[in-house]
Symmetry: C2
Subunit: 427 residues, 2 copies
């Protein structure tokens, strides 16, 4: 019965600081989602006695040890033989794996090098974990050390190979072996426009004790809210749906997506659905809004142009911002961004125009317009809106937050919601 | 004498998958730079018996244990009391720290909450490590467990507080206590335009065995080359300078910076020095060039405007790309980007214009112009250049690589180097 886990990350590239170990983070998350307690993460380099120490220690601490790395084709890859040595079993070559690897090499017109054969050797008694995206499969086997029995899960260190193996094979296996038929039903809401504490306060009263677990995770500029319900299969999902309805009702307009979608994904989808063609005029965000929008495949269907008018001349010349506005109110003003949004829309012939202008810092602030002052405007046939915000943080944070507010305005516009209702950043 | 280190990362936010542990990576790097062997990284949550296990284990493995996290003001912060318990010493309040914290809270017009006082308690015999950027200092103390003596270094988990503490206090302390007067002299070259293997090949013949250690680290789209020389103080630096001269001579035009500067920092600095005013026209990069340029404070001094002309209409209307070019060669062609670069330069009245157009994917490719086809052009009074590249990778990689090539062209233009001499990505 699997209750407690240890993660084992191996590889000189980690202990030498060459690579950030994001695998451990991914695995921790999956374990938490499935109610398995993570006792420790152990990381060691490719040194035989350290690997042996780490495996013995991990087996002593956990019911399951999940390992990444050390099963490649090089002499530094010692995981498989370390395990066989501790278990006192021999290595057995798996011929189906050899064939699989040979086929993979053939598809890229190469002959498999001899040393790859080693990746088809497994400790006797191991069960193979398929690796659809790479040459080397992983494996699972039980082992006892000093009377403590543990299940070993061995996967490659390459994240794009390891992640599907964890999701498609290991997680279902863990769920089957948790020794309970209770499951976790999970839903994630992506929110923007409420602070962590405001979100916490809004949601806390909606959920009875023991009904669901609420987790907030800030990844600037957005905050995700995760609801987890534990229960019998079916029942957990039903309860989750019920709680989700209450949460949705309360904070609906701050939820821009459920699941993993980004703000720019959502905006793009809405612009396609509503057949809205967009023109952007950026000053302080410097191209970031365009960059984010064009990260979404197919964005040419709605984004016509984005004019980054960094100088006043460019604002006047390309967007027809009037000299008197620039002189009287300055480039960072609601008056100016309104003219920018209207100007870019007219110039490009779009259905909606959005514009930003501000002082991203660290220099350029004045008492009237300190660093972090950002003005945003939206212009369309039906709606015109502008607002001045006071944002805090470094240059890149101000740029990112301003781009997020602008995208959120587009989302709200497309949905017919009140624009800029989010008063969080309002001056 | 400090030869072997263990890193200890603590906190439920790490073991629950909430946060990626980038501290361990930073610390690993610093240890490697200073020739200290990292035996293991241990990560545990805020659970008393696990913390105690981790500390005892770490002390058994290393001459020094470097810990981050667990010294905040909350009840979950257990590091200090765990250490005091294992050492069998009492906690002593440091009044200078209390005063320091009170002053910090006063500067933000707040009274220090009572529970922060705990951050001024240290195990008896500890030496305080100043924390210039936060409330809680760290500390150092020796401890023996089962006859093995180790030095403990305790720092906060917040990266922006921990990093300067490591660099300004811990690293010098480690150097003093490495038990050798030999030092490491280090120089980093930031390169772009050569592949990892080409770089390796170019440099390997320049360096005699034992003269310097060469480390390559790819962080797409650039590769850093790190030279490390170990030796007596003065001598190591002299030898490093000598080797660096040879490396510089061989790969000079691919080195865009020495140290930590980014490509956009370097381009910005050059445009200021040479008094060059820039206009950009982007298609497939979608605003990313403008975004990167404007990440540099003061970029309004050289960036006049960036026109993201995503539609053909916008290319014709704003940049005066001719209809016949669009019809005959298409938007993704050297002919088109040349007109874009010339058009944006003329339209904005800049000294130099740079333009991109391509197919970032995943859709939109044709047999003639597969996904990853990117055309780049530069236009000025003295130089006109254009080139077609075939890039590989996902949409975001193609965008990033294309933006990097464009910025590198600007760097080469400002320096009077051959533009696009880097043939790595050339079709």
């Amino acid at each position: 019965m699997i209750k407690r886990a240890v993660i084992l990350s191996t590889g000189d590239e980690i202990t030498s600081g060459k690579v950030v170990d994001t695998n451990a983070n991914f695995l921790s998350d999956k374990l938490a989602e499935n109610g398995i307690d993570l006792v420790a993460v152990l990381t060691v380099g490719d040194v035989p006695e350290r690997l042996e120490w780490a495996w013995r220690t991990a087996i002593g601490l956990g019911d399951v040890v999940i390992s990444t790395g050390g099963i490649g084709p090089t002499v530094d890859d010692l995981t498989t033989e370390t395990i066989a040595r501790i278990a006192g079993v021999k290595l057995v070559r798996d011929h189906a794996t050899v064939e699989h690897m040979k086929r993979l090499f053939a598809t890229i017109n190469r002959v498999m090098p001899e040393n790859n054969l080693k990746q088809a050797d497994f400790p006797e008694g191991a069960e193979i974990i398929p690796n659809p995206l790479g040459t080397a499969p992983g494996f699972r086997m039980p082992m006892s050390v000093d009377g403590h029995r543990s299940e070993l899960i061995v996967m490659p260190g390459v994240p794009r190979e390891m992640k599907p193996m964890m999701e498609n094979w290991v997680v279902p296996w863990l769920q089957k072996n948790r020794g309970t038929d209770r499951v976790f039903a999970v839903r994630i809401f992506q929110t923007f426009g409420m602070s962590e504490s405001a979100l916490d306060e809004a949601v806390i009263g909606l959920i009875k004790p023991g009904e669901a677990k609420v987790g907030l995770r800030a990844s600037f500029p957005q905050i995700s809210l995760r609801l987890t319900v534990e229960g019998a299969p079916g029942e957990a999902q039903r309860k989750l749906d019920e709680v989700s309805d209450r949460v949705r009702e309360k904070i609906s307009q701050f939820v821009f997506a459920e699941g993993d979608a980004s703000m720019e994904d959502v905006v793009g989808q809405l612009l396609i659905e509503k057949k809205i063609r967009l023109a952007v005029a950026e000053s302080c965000t410097g191209g970031l809004i365009g960059h984010r929008l064009t990260n979404v495949p197919g964005s040419s269907r709605y984004l016509l142009a984005d004019l980054v008018t960094y100088s006043n001349n460019a604002k006047a010349d390309l967007l027809a911002v009037s000299q008197s506005t620039l002189e009287k109110f300055g480039a960072v003003s609601e008056e100016c961004v309104r003219e920018m949004a209207a100007g870019v829309r007219r110039r490009i012939g779009a259905d909606v125009g959005i514009a930003t202008s501000g002082i991203a810092g660290p220099d350029g602030g004045t008492p009237d317009k300190p660093v972090g002052t950002v003005c945003i405007a939206l212009d369309s046939d039906t709606v015109t809106a502008s607002r001045r915000y006071q944002m805090r943080g470094t240059r890149d944070w101000v740029k990112l937050l301003a781009s997020q507010v602008a995208l959120d305005w587009l989302r709200r516009f497309a949905l017919g919601l009140d624009i800029g209702d989010s008063t969080l950043f309002r001056r």
